[in-house]
Every structure is written in C-alpha cells, then in structure tokens.
C-alpha cells in the first residue's frame, strides 16, 4: 500500500450492505478466492463475489472455453461449479476466515433452482449479499436467457428475495433491447440492488482453420473492450433508479476506470478480467483510485456518484 488514505472515506454502504472500500472482485474471475491468497491480502478487498453457484454441481462446457479478442476475451466456461453445498462445506469457511465480505453469486435453470441455492445460503455466516446471475438459459424456453425477458427476470427475483436472508443484487446483461425495462422488473420484484453488467455476448472465428474459437460458438466478452458499454448501462440504470445501489462492472483496469463507474452512478465496482492477467490487479486499482481521490481532493468516495456534469 503506497497510496495515502489519511482523511479519506473509502467505505461504502449499498442500501445497508457495507464494504470497507468500493473495490470488489467480479464473479467468475476470482473463483472462491484461494488462488489469489498467495498474491494479495484478501481482507484488503471491499468484497469478493464468488463464482456462480448452482443447486447441484454443473460440469461446464468442453474446451476450447476461451479466446482472446482485441482488448478483451471471450469465455464459455458453462458456469462450472461444484454446487452450493460443496461450496458451503469446503470453500466458504476458508474465505470468511480471510476477513473479507462475501457475495454469493447464484444461478439456475428455473426460478425454483435459484430459490434452492438461495435457501441453502440462508443465514450462511459471512455472506453479506447475493448476486443473482440471470444470464442463464431458461429451461422453459432455452433459446432465451432470464436476463433478456422482464417477466422471467421478475419471476426469478421474486422467488429469490422471498427465500434469501441476505440483500439481493440482480446482475443485468447488456444483451437486451432496453436494460432499464429489465432493471425495472427486478426492482419491482424486490431486488435491493443491481450489478451492471454481465459479459456481452460475442463470437470469434479462426480464419485459418474455419473453426469457431469457442466450443459453444458464442460466449461472454469481457475486458477493457466492453467498458464503454458498461458505463452506458450503469448510467442509464442509475438515472432511471437513483435510489437503487449499483455495483458497476465491465472491463475495469485502472483507478480512473473505478472513478468513471462511480461518476456514471455506481456505488461500488467489481474488477473482473484484470484478475486473470495480474493476480494483484484489484490492489493496484485500489491504490490508483486512492491516488486519484487525493489528486482530485475528493474526501468521500460516495460523493463521486453525484459529480458527473450532465446538464
């Protein structure tokens, strides 16, 4: 830690969910934290959003599961995870012991599956909030993801908020006609906050071999390439629902990127793909963000949300 934190208020409060600083790590880019322990002190993070958990173990997709694209990468992991029970037994106790707030990302193929996961996590010690990953095909209509349909989104979120003992954040997808419509459905269904945004659907084809670069043909695009889309999504949603706290995510690489998300209306951010390239990225970004705050003489990070000049 080199940056000067004196006289700075870094802690943020997202509708009652408190983080010691606004830098979290994004789901699917931090696994359950163990892989990063050799490189950084997890207690210095604002929070960890763990890889999405399903009611039963999900095997994931065959390889190839990843491909680099300009300033980004595509992935098609297929939400591989050992299931919520194995997570609670083997991963959660260790993670909580590190002294970092844990947000459980949950996923399912039906509203009932989401509810099962939320139910298993009821009262789980150390879990401060739930992030509902609705970018998953709906078994009732597998051509659609929950995230692209207001009714399906509403059903999942209503179910989860009914059983969850923790505040619920709905993670929105950019692949929709109007992200505000989906946000509205989530808010009406009782979501406490929003996570904006998930990866953007993309595709890449190898022109030498004529093969798609992912086994599933399409996959999620992440990294700096998608940051402007994420900033736009945060901006649109925060202006439509100014009282709903937002965790901004999408291509964060620097301290200035954090500031940009907060200016757009987020209250906290999650660092994603940068963790893959630089295991200590979240710490560097926090340091850079603190330097930024000092340089701009901003004493309280929560002020940034109201500082964008938009006429």
């Amino acid at each position: 830690m080199t940056a000067d934190r004196r006289n700075l208020k870094l802690a943020v409060d997202l509708g009652g969910v408190k983080f010691p600083n606004p830098i979290l790590t994004a789901s699917g880019t931090f696994h359950y934290g163990r892989e990063f322990a050799p490189y950084l002190d997890l207690s210095k993070l604002g929070g960890v959003i763990v890889k999405s958990l399903s009611a039963k173990p999900w095997p994931g997709h065959p390889p190839p599961r990843g491909a680099e694209t300009p300033s980004g990468m595509l992935n098609a992991i297929g939400l591989q995870n050992p299931g919520v029970a194995a997570f609670c037994d083997h991963e959660l106790p260790w993670l909580v012991e590190q002294g970092v707030p844990v947000i459980a990302s949950i996923v399912g193929h039906s509203p009932e599956e989401y509810m099962k996961v939320a139910d298993r996590l009821r009262g789980a010690p150390g879990i401060v909030a739930m992030e509902v990953n609705i970018s998953c095909p709906n078994l009732e209509d597998p051509t659609k993801m929950f995230s692209s349909d207001p009714d399906a989104t509403g059903k999942v979120i209503r179910g989860v908020t009914r059983v969850a003992s923790q505040p619920v954040f709905t993670k929105l997808s950019p692949d929709v006609t109007n992200i505000v419509d989906i946000a509205r459905a989530a808010v009406r269904a009782g979501t406490h906050g929003l996570a904006v945004m998930n990866t953007a659907l993309g595709m890449a084809i190898d022109t030498e071999t004529f093969s798609p670069k992912l086994s599933t043909l399409t996959g999620g695009l992440s990294g700096p390439a998608i940051k402007p889309i994420a900033i736009r999504c945060v901006y649109q949603v925060s202006r439509a629902f100014p009282d709903v706290p937002i965790i901004g995510q999408g291509g964060i690489w620097t301290g200035e990127d954090v500031a940009e998300f907060l200016l757009a209306g987020a209250s906290a951010v999650a660092v994603g793909t940068a963790n893959f390239i630089e295991p200590t990225a979240s710490m560097r970004i926090l340091d850079e963000f603190i330097e930024y705050l000092n340089r701009k003489r901003i004493r309280d990070v929560s002020q940034l949300r109201r500082m964008m000049k938009d006429g």
Binding site: G60, P63, N75, Q80, F276, I277, P279, T280
Partner: protein, 290 residues
C-alpha cells in the same frame, strides 16, 4: 513485484537473449532467478504482453531449460513458434527488453523413486519441456532415452541437444527428411523394448499424446503426459483450460473437467478420460491468443 506462495513468482524479467532456432522455432531466455530456482520440468511460465492492452492475456510457455547460476544470474528459457500476434511480438524482443513473468506454474513431471529407464517422447514444439526433464532425470540417476518427432527435419526441436541429453535418440519425421519416416508411435513399442523403459514421458499434440498413452497402456507402462490447452490466467482462477479426467472411483461416467494449469499440465495418462478428449482444437503452448 510480489513474493508469492511456494511456486509462483510475479515480476519483471529482463530478456537475456533472443535466438532464432531452426526454421519455425524461436527462443527467449529471461533473467528470472526467482523462477529458475524453484522451476521443475513440466511447469510453465506465463508471459505478459509488453505495453499493449489490446493483447490482453498472458501467454503460457513450458519451461524449456533453466540455468541456475548463483546470485542473480539465473535464467529461464522458453521456445515457441509463431501462432499469432502475441508470439510475433515476443519474437521481436531483443536483449534487455523487459517482460512481466508469472511462474513457475503448474504440476511438474514426477520422477520414479528407484533408478529407472525412462523414455521421453516429444513432438514438434511440444518437446519443449523434455530437455529440462532429461537433465533432471539423469541427475537423479535414471537412464534417459528419447524419441523426437516432427513434420520435417526443421521441426525437430533442438536435435543436437537431445542427443547430448540422452543415451539414445530416435528421430521421426512425417516426410522422412530425418530419421524414421513416420510418427513417434511407429517406433515407440520397439524403443521401449530396446531400452527396457519402464516409464514414458510425453508432450506434444493431443492426437500424439493419445496414441502414446494407448501404446503405454497396452505395454503396461507408467506414462505421464504434459497437456496443452487454451489458457487465460494460468493459476486456476478462470477455468478456461479444461481437461477431462477420471475421478478416483473410476467408472466411465465418473469424470470431471480438471484445470490444466493447476491440476496439470502434467497428468498421469491413466487419469485422462481419453474418450472425452476432443482432437479438433489446435494444440497451443501460447494461450488463447497465439
């Protein structure tokens, strides 16, 4: 610069030498004493692209050789062929350039406990970790023989060094330009008998690994395969590099995707669930970007 756990070190390394090898191959030697002091054959390092966020991901390379000079002079060498823009950038680096290194990563080859006759089988650029392995095995008192294959004579990786590192070397080329005309598995069974090998170590394209593993299973030999799979992070966080493995209980339906980077890249051939392995994906030692 961050000191890390047993295993991985992360920080800047200086390019000590760039060398053009035979036709398709390039070599980079990096000053990285922290990496070389703990590196073992079969492990890899992940190199970050210099000053270019458009080439986002690190490229993983198996450790070709280490030179454990005392003090701060220890070096690590990787070899590669050009697969895309990333490897092209790396091939233009020259002495004193700086590169960010993460490593050593992954599980290395395991050595036999008693002095044993070991046969190394490498194909193309996949043979990269085998010279290092040969040196270490001989240092532990094992006999080492080597089968080195490639498309043409130029695709035989460091044939002279292979001769120096092992008791006998058998070359195979697809076009017969050097050694036996054919593929490594054409000569494998005969070389096993001739050298009385008990353990086989192999690295190369998946189709070759499968063929070598099959021969070893028939001859009831222990076999370790160094896997190459598309990777993004290299240290277990992203789950991109999936390899199908049998679970301990063993049935054909009892399997899971293992992480090549942390559970491998070296796997016991008997642990790999070969029926689930696709051969369509191009093998790569250079990550998702080439």
């Amino acid at each position: 610069m961050s000191p890390a756990n047993p295993g991985a070190w992360s920080g800047p390394a200086e390019v000590f030498a760039y060398r053009r090898l035979a036709e398709p191959y390039h070599s980079l030697t990096l000053v990285a004493p922290e990496v070389c002091s703990r590196a073992a054959p079969g492990q890899f390092i992940a190199l970050r692209m210099p000053d270019d966020r458009s080439l986002l991901l690190r490229r993983p390379f198996s450790i070709h050789r280490v030179d454990r000079r005392p003090g701060w002079a220890g070096t690590v060498e990787v070899v590669f062929d050009i697969r895309g823009r990333g490897t092209e950038v790396l091939s233009r680096l020259r002495q004193h350039a700086a590169l960010d290194v993460l490593g050593p990563l992954g599980r290395p080859f395991r050595y036999p406990k008693e002095p044993t006759n070991c046969l190394l089988v490498g194909g193309g650029i996949g043979a990269a970790p085998l010279l290092f392995l040969a040196e270490e095995l001989r240092g532990h008192g094992h006999r080492v023989d080597y089968i080195l294959g490639g498309r043409t004579q130029d695709h035989l990786l460091r044939p002279i060094e292979a001769k120096r590192a092992s008791l006998t070397v058998t070359f195979t080329t697809d076009d017969g330009s050097s050694g036996y005309r054919g593929v490594v598995t054409d000569v494998l069974a005969e070389r096993v008998r001739a050298t009385n090998a008990k353990v086989v170590y192999t690295c190369g394209p998946v189709a070759m690994l499968r063929a070598v593993a099959r021969v070893c299973a028939q001859m009831k030999l222990s076999c370790e395969v160094a896997w190459e799979e598309v990777m993004a992070c290299g240290f277990g966080a992203c789950l991109v590099c999936a390899v199908p493995v049998r679970l301990d209980r063993g049935g054909d339906d009892d399997w899971a995707w293992a992480r090549c980077c942390t559970e491998g890249p070296v796997f016991s051939a008997s642990r790999v669930h070969w029926e689930r392995v696709e051969e369509s994906g191009a093998p790569t030692t250079t990550g998702v970007g080439g």
